[in-house]
Homo-oligomer: 261 residues x 2
Amino acid sequence: MTAPTPLDATPLGGPVFILDRPAHGGNIGSALRAIHNMGFRHLRLVEPRQFPHEDVENYAASAGRFIDTIELFPDIASAVADLNFLVAMTRRLRGQRHHVVTPRQMGEALGPKLIQPEQRIGLLFGTERTGLETIDVERCHWICTIPTEGEVGSLNLAQSIMVVAYEMMMGSGKGRAVVHNPTTDDTLATADEMNRLYAHMQEVLFEIDFIQPDRYKQMMGKLKALFNRASLDHREVTILRGMLTEVTAHCNRKMAKLNRP
Amino acid sequence: MTAPTPLDATPLGGPVFILDRPAHGGNIGSALRAIHNMGFRHLRLVEPRQFPHEDVENYAASAGRFIDTIELFPDIASAVADLNFLVAMTRRLRGQRHHVVTPRQMGEALGPKLIQPEQRIGLLFGTERTGLETIDVERCHWICTIPTEGEVGSLNLAQSIMVVAYEMMMGSGKGRAVVHNPTTDDTLATADEMNRLYAHMQEVLFEIDFIQPDRYKQMMGKLKALFNRASLDHREVTILRGMLTEVTAHCNRKMAKLNRP
């Protein structure tokens, strides 16, 4: 694992997250963790109340090793001085003629640009209690508002940062998740294997009197639909056939015992 | 504001968020807040360490009034007994043949179904330190993994819940945000108003010797591009014309003073 590159030695490779006077160290640590989870690096604090603070470390978890990359500023003006595109995170629109976007729209619009070193995007988050002040919204090119649905409209600061960092990462096309669809990604059992399974199943179900000769087609149709829907692989067919074999073998063993009194 | 409807009196109107043995009351409060922010209601806890606890209240913020809707269970089996589609939130896949999805895919697939009262979807979150146990992943129909990009792979519990709740809301089509695009949503100034603004501007810029007669077309072209890009509305044109008027008037006033010594 390599140490993070100092900010002044590298072009900004992603947005700069700027927190105005955060009150809680836990929010700073959570923010740092969310930012690094999503592949970003730049966190700036304007006059934090608890920094340094043990809560920052506790909430940063394994991102704690990046705490010394956090930059401190005495006011928002100096925190944004070297950035050239600013977005205010707020849900109070104050009737201004700003372009207002959702995090998803912002990620889709700005995400692809994050790889251009000349793009210095700043995302400005207000205080936990009162949000951003009008004078700071006015510095910004866009306003971004996180959609909500519930009656409770005010989001937790660190959770807002997570949603925005997540959408910026998704928009950049860099988000990685192991996605797996067993019906298309695995080698499924062949039709021949499945037919032999169904024949075996039918034989055993007849034997244990579960299905009657006059109704077996309907029942087997239901079972085939069920197992086809489950998209079995070779190993799973082997397991099921082993079970079917044991149903018969078990019964035969019991019978054999009875015959040897 | 009406009190929340008790769970037993209403069909489940959204997914049930189930937290296995959460260690920190703050995570429970943050989870409750995130769930209600995104319009959902159902939080179940399996053997929480800190509950009730002042941190739950502190982190729940205004969602604190829903704390008494949280349901407690002695184990995961009883917490999921009445649900019929379970999703394990984990990034450890354990080589199982599960359908693995991202929160976005899950929101798109399950979101529209959230309005059907017979769909009882449970989202299962593991402990902060060790995540879900294999036996509990095996209970589930799907695995959901949040994409990450950074070196730091383990997400904060409450932030994971926020991303999932956010995507479930987005997938349900219920997310509301005031989105505003000044270039298309506002009534812009008419072409005639803009032409009169540019004529006024040109006149004043000539007068203050900012542009020369032989180069004015090029300069006016640049200024027109700039102001057209800004998509001015009627009010903004009035402000700019007022400024232009004052440039001239100010100079005239100064001149008048000089002539009256």
